[in-house]
């Protein structure tokens, strides 16, 4: 046992000696939806500052990421929805002030099987009829969705109920966040949903645009009509100019203000996120880069150190520039 005690002492000694030669490290965590963007940025930023600044990215999810962020453990956290009031309270309690910065747009695509020849578009009202809680066990056939649709079973596929994708979809379609029927095939892994819709003629599903764009040969995207408008098909184009509504949502980075002010390398990385030439990275991993106006507004929020969030909860069909110019509350 003496040996073990000695080993323990050595371990303890090495713990005390930690951080002596630590290299500047930006700690990023958060949403799995935002992860590909964080990873791409971290990779390029790391390459540009080789040996001097490092960036690490965790994958705790939006909620898990906020928990760590509000304890001050991470510098930046990715989020696929705005911060919730409860999380804001937690940040306040620990004195963590933050800047809310949109980093990209994501479109939720509604998809069907390519052999589905009856759906040319769907309205938000029709989608609501299918997905609202009252539809459970009631709306089970395509013929109930619209007159003229064939008499075929309706098989639904959707994002897992813990995901920000599910929260946004329900807010936009059902009108109430986190509320929908429960009898659909849910998965946190969007590739499972892709496979499900691709193999089922009667399927209807939704997930992030990137998963549709990678599988256009196996899926058919459904154009969406909102408030009587012309149906719009999801694409980087229609999401970028705000035409594809209400299913286009911003993705965010929340940056710790104290980190930015005390560690110049965190500020450098945050600015890096909004440089024009890096918008291409966002596009490369399947998301819609921000326009010049949004980037300018975000950089202004960063420069002015405007603390707080512009949201009271999830909002549908937002104009990102407008939210950035709003008065923030903290």
């Amino acid at each position: 046992m003496k040996k073990h005690l000695m080993f323990g002492a050595v371990l303890a000694g090495s713990l005390v000696a930690q951080n002596a030669a630590a290299v500047d490290t930006v700690q990023v965590d958060g949403s799995s939806t935002v992860f590909p963007i964080s990873e791409a940025m971290a990779e390029e930023f790391g390459n540009a500052n080789r040996g001097e600044i490092r960036v690490t990215v965790g994958l705790s999810g939006t909620g898990g990421g906020f928990k760590k962020f509000c304890r001050g453990e991470t510098d930046i956290t990715g989020a696929s929805r705005p911060i919730r009031p409860g999380e804001l309270e937690e940040c306040k309690k620990n004195g963590v002030e933050f800047l809310e910065l949109p980093v990209a747009m994501d479109a939720l695509s509604v998809v069907v099987n390519p052999q589905n020849d009856w759906v040319d578009h769907l309205t938000v009202e029709e989608l609501k009829k299918v997905w609202e809680p009252e539809a459970q066990g009631e709306i089970t056939n395509w013929s109930q969705v619209r007159d003229g649709f064939p008499d075929r079973p309706l098989n639904l596929f959707g994002a897992g109920t813990d995901s920000g994708t599910y929260d946004y979809f329900t807010a936009a379609i059902v009108g109430e966040e986190h509320s929908s029927r429960g009898d659909f095939t849910a998965s946190e892994d969007d590739n499972v949903l892709v496979m499900g819709v691709a193999n089922d003629q009667n399927a209807l599903g939704f997930f992030g645009l990137a998963y549709y764009l990678e599988n256009t040969d196996k899926l058919k995207a459904v154009p969406i009509s909102w408030k009587g408008s012309e149906p719009v098909e999801p694409s980087k184009q229609t999401a970028g100019d705000g035409e594809y509504q209400p299913l286009t949502r911003p993705l965010y980075f929340y940056a710790n203000k104290a980190s930015i002010e005390e560690k110049d390398y965190v500020e450098k990385f945050t600015e890096f996120l909004f440089q024009e030439e890096n918008a291409e990275l966002v596009s490369e991993v399947g998301y819609v880069p921000l326009g010049a106006k949004v980037r300018e507004a975000a950089l202004r929020v960063l420069a002015d150190r405007e603390v707080g969030t512009a949201y009271e909860g999830s909002e549908v069909g937002v104009d990102v520039v407008e939210t950035l110019n709003r008065k923030k509350h903290y």
Binding site: E39, E43, T56
Partner: protein, 310 residues
């Protein structure tokens, strides 16, 4: 009335009973081979499937020496396999001595009373606790209460806790299987208890103890849930500091405090990406992980073989 017993005696057809038993033997043996066949075919099919899908990346030497990347064809597993080995070293160094010592104590030293009974039941129960519960324990205790951070050390400790019951139980089994004559002979020659343990019991139980330790470590190497729970990273483009340094005292424990990622997490991240090429990368990482596990088992078999021979 003696006709009945006569009939019974003479009515026994020994040849048919023997034939029946032999055919039962054959049926059972074929059933056993069939079950074994299913188990092995599943493993081989799974492995071949992964290997075929991952072949393009497996054949690329850069795969083993690059960091993860947003481009599936540039993404490598360097930080993941180094992280996995470092975490396993910590796990082995913590769990094996503790587990063996605890098993030895419970089997040889502890008095049989209600207290040891409670410990015994708890150890067996711990072996069945889902791994995520250990992750939550580590998150609350090591990461948040002790403020140790999401480091190699914490990951090693949580996996060590996870496999401790396995090592304790297998150590006890190994010690129990040693004939008590050996123990009595040692005492008879005047050895005290510690001498008996260190010179006779432990060496004799070594093959069993090593097997238990490796079974435990093989379980730990594939664990994802507790490591994700404590907050392991998914993208890390540098390696923990080398344990050997150029300056005095030439050994550094800095790597214990480093952030890290491990093979199963890297795979988990890649599987859920939209680009089809990431599936290839994930399959290739799966093959490497299986080979690492097999290599560890092979090492165990070799050590056991050596131990038995001496």
């Amino acid at each position: 009335m003696n006709t009945l017993s006569e009939n019974v005696l003479s009515g026994i057809d020994y040849a048919s009973i023997s034939r029946k038993n032999r055919s039962r033997d054959i049926i059972f043996a074929s059933l056993g081979i069939f079950v074994l066949f299913i188990a092995i075919t599943t493993l081989v099919a799974l492995f071949l499937d992964l290997a075929m899908r991952g072949a393009p990346r497996l054949a690329d030497p850069d795969f083993y020496t690059s960091f993860p990347s947003r481009r599936p064809l540039d993404a490598g597993i360097l930080s993941a396999w180094v992280g996995t080995i470092m975490v396993m070293v910590v796990t082995a160094v913590v769990a094996v001595p503790l587990g063996v010592a605890a098993g030895l104590y419970l089997e040889e030293y502890a008095k049989k009373n209600w207290f040891t009974d409670v410990i015994e039941i708890n150890v067996s129960n711990l072996a069945g606790v889902p791994s995520i519960v250990y992750g939550l324990l580590a998150l609350g205790l090591f990461v948040q209460t002790f403020g140790m951070g999401e480091t190699v050390l914490v990951a090693g400790l949580v996996l060590a806790l996870l496999i401790l019951p396995i090592i304790i139980v297998s150590t006890r089994e190994a010690i129990r299987s040693i004939p008590s004559e050996l123990r009595e002979a040692a005492y008879g020659l005047g050895a005290n208890q510690w001498q008996t343990m260190s010179m006779y019991i432990i060496p004799a139980a070594k093959p069993g103890i090593i097997t238990g330790a490796i079974v435990g470590l093989s379980r730990a190497i594939g664990e994802t849930a507790p490591i994700i729970t404590i907050g392991a990273l998914s993208f890390i483009a540098f390696l923990p500091q080398s344990p050997i340094t150029g300056d005095f005292p030439f050994i550094s424990f800095e790597w214990l405090n480093s952030g890290f990622t491990v093979m199963p997490i890297q795979m988990f991240g890649w599987v859920s990406r939209p680009q089809a090429d990431f599936q290839i990368t994930a399959a290739a990482a799966g093959v490497v992980l299986i080979i690492m596990t097999l290599a560890m088992n092979a090492l165990a078999i070799y050590i056991r073989y050596r131990a038995r021979k001496s």
